[in-house]
């Protein structure tokens, strides 16, 4: 599959009263046509900031994309004019946000909001856009879609609102859908509905998905490849089965061991990762995970490891081979 999006050395910072926050520290990744890429990490690891940077949705000031390229269809998203990026957003790359309660305009009807991208990007008349919006709402499983176009966001439940947001994001049949923790605010049975919906729509429409989450459970059943982030860096990249069967970064290993499983009948003590996630006030010249890492050796404190090849299509940013405890060469 061809690369649809190639991100290189993306770096985003925020100027705050306390000083510079290094949210994303030079990450590179690519997205292939029709695949699902999972980006996993805990709060503050830079997973949302990295995709918001791509769509130029970082409020400037205080934030700023200070370096990097994001090549999409031969053009660099980060160098586009405001008008050019506006043509891309919502039409070719669209986004679904975490909170279905606050991501809608409460004083506009659902119809106005779902149909809006068509009117803006594809010059549809209001009537045609509404017809298409009703089709799209039916497709995401909203009953009586035509009547419900005239309802306001508060008349929908959380799960239904997330369906509407997906309909809105997909109405211009984008090539890339970015889903930023789309199920975190939802109950588990509703989450299962949304995950099934996303898989079905991907089969029908063929878009590539970047799915951002802190939940290693969801990503296991959804993604083709996974990037794990920590402290503003991508610290491990692998195809999904490889990552879970053979994690190579101590952080990924620790995270997987700390999760209880619903299908696990034995009782074990959960492995916990001691210490706290890093503060991002400085860009470390050592491995950002070293302070919490049980494998750390002297090298880890001297040089921040780049992503090293550790297997077929599998890279990890760690000097140490966790299987042997010895340094990788």
């Amino acid at each position: 599959m061809a690369d649809l999006l190639t991100v290189q050395d993306l770096e985003t910072r925020f100027r705050t009263r306390e000083g510079m926050v290094h949210a994303v520290n030079g990450i590179s990744f690519d997205l292939k046509e029709g695949e699902t890429l999972g980006i996993v990490g805990e709060s503050g690891c830079g997973k949302s900031v990295s995709v918001l940077s791509l769509l130029r949705l970082i409020p400037t000031p205080p934030g700023k994309v200070v370096a990097g390229t994001a090549s999409y269809q031969g053009k660099d998203l980060l160098q586009m004019t405001d008008e050019e990026i506006r043509q891309v957003r919502g039409a070719q790359i669209s986004m679904v946000f975490q909170d279905p309660m606050t991501s809608f305009n409460p004083v506009l009807t659902i119809g106005q909001q779902v149909a809006e991208p068509l009117e803006i990007h594809q010059g549809y008349s209001r009537a045609m856009a509404y017809d298409r919006a009703a089709e799209m709402l039916t497709m995401v499983g909203i009953p009586r879609a035509k009547e419900r176009l005239n309802d306001y966001p508060h008349q929908f439940s959380g799960g239904m609102r997330q369906r509407v947001m997906i309909a809105m994001a997909l109405i211009c049949t984008p090539q890339i859908l970015i889903a930023d923790e789309p199920t975190t605010a939802l109950d588990v049975t509703i989450q299962a509905q949304i995950v099934e919906l996303a898989k079905r729509l991907q089969d029908e429409l063929g878009m590539a998905i970047i799915w951002i989450t802190h939940d290693l459970g969801i990503i296991a059943g959804l993604a083709d490849r996974v990037n794990v982030m920590y402290g503003g860096y991508i610290i491990e990249k692998a195809p999904v089965k490889e990552l879970y069967a053979n994690p190579q970064h101590p952080y990924t290993i620790g995270l997987l061991a700390s999760l209880p499983r619903v299908d696990e009948s034995g009782r074990r003590r959960l492995a916990s990762i001691d210490g706290l996630p890093p503060v991002l006030m400085e860009k470390p010249n050592y491995c950002p995970f070293a302070p919490r890492c049980s494998f750390a050796v002297e090298h880890c404190w001297k040089e921040n490891p780049p992503l090293l090849q550790v297997g077929d299509r599998h890279t990890a940013a760690c000097w140490v081979n966790p299987k042997t405890g010895g340094e990788r060469v």
Binding site: G159, D187, I190, S258, D274
Partner: protein, 326 residues
């Protein structure tokens, strides 16, 4: 089961919140049926997990047990005594023995009090551990929850979410309780921190012989920490069993669907799974469905489910379910 076997016994507990209309002359026009006739026991030294989705009444249950809400009807027996029949003074004394850990470690600590003051406050109110003993106890409790005792002069904002939750645990332990109601104690925390707090709760239970009512929506964590598990749906308990029994052989269709919806962090296991995807949303607790409350979303519902409320019965030894077809 007699009340003496159980540390806590909840008997046909009901909590409705009235919905009123009018400003000066208020009249009741309906009620939110938050908790509707639930019964269960919590045995000494065990952890009973109470799971359900948002709005199912699990938090209301916890708060009504502590008499923070006055029950509409039904009784809560703690150490054999009916809490709703206690005088205010007796209830105040009993509260020393039942403590609570809250969900939000940011909202549940007073930002203007030092950590030492927060942990000492229960002892101040109940007039225990006076003088120098109190400061020593604060230091002891901080150490017990894995914090440096030198932290007692700091303020909550200087701590991370996981550390704050530890402070909340220390406060709950200040009066030597026997029962702790843990209301979603880890859901606001990051994944790598959740395991730290859960391990702490398990260690404290082992060392102090504590009994937990563990309220949560994370079914994987509940399986991990509980001895027995109760599943709530729309104000009622639909199933109650030993943890292995409930997860390996769920009898109620809601429990089955709920368990099948929980993702497993293992792509190979995920591929093999068959999911029961429930249609629609949870109905409003203002006007819950007749008969079985789950029937509107139930994949196996029959006409009888709309007419007759299924009895919560012991289908197998120690395995209770409220379904006509269980």
């Amino acid at each position: 089961m007699t009340p003496t076997e159980a540390l806590l016994r909840v008997d046909r507990l009901v909590k409705h919140f009235p919905i009123t209309r009018g400003i000066l002359i208020q009249r009741q026009i309906g009620a939110v049926h938050a908790v509707d006739d639930i019964s269960f026991d919590v045995y000494k030294g065990e952890t009973l997990g109470l799971v359900g989705e948002s709005g199912c009444g699990k938090t209301t249950t916890g708060r009504t047990i502590l008499q923070l809400y006055k029950p509409t009807s039904g009784s809560v027996y703690f150490e054999g005594r009916d809490l709703s029949k206690l005088s205010a003074e007796e209830m105040r004394k009993t509260r020393q023995r039942i403590q609570m850990i809250f969900q939000d470690p940011y909202a549940s600590l007073n930002p203007r009090m030092t950590v030492g003051e927060i942990i000492a406050e229960p002892m101040l109110i109940h007039n225990t551990y006076n003088g120098k003993d109190r400061q020593e106890r604060v230091a002891y409790l901080l150490k017990m929850v894995g914090l440096n005792s030198a932290f007692s002069n700091r303020y909550p904002h200087e701590f991370s979410g996981g550390q704050r939750q530890r402070i909340g645990v220390a406060r709950a332990l200040a009066l030597d309780p026997s029962l702790i109601v843990c209301d979603e104690p880890i859901s606001a925390l990051d994944v790598s921190i959740q395991a730290q707090v859960v391990n702490l709760l398990e260690d404290l239970q082992r060392d102090l012989g504590l009994t937990y009512l563990f309220i949560a929506h994370d079914l994987s964590m509940v399986r991990h920490i509980s001895n027995r598990v109760a599943v709530m749906y729309l104000g009622i308990i639909v199933e109650l069993a030993d943890r292995v029994d409930l997860y390996e052989d769920p009898l109620h269709p809601y429990t089955q669907a709920l368990l099948s919806a929980v993702p497993i962090p293992d792509p190979v296991a995920e591929e093999k799974r068959r999911r029961t995807i429930l249609e629609g949303d949870v109905p409003s607790p203002v006007n819950p469905p007749s008969g079985c409350r789950f029937r509107t979303r139930c994949p196996i519902a029959q006409p009888i489910c709309a007419e007759i409320k299924p009895e919560f019965r012991e289908v197998k030894p120690n395995h209770w379910a409220a379904c006509h077809f269980a």
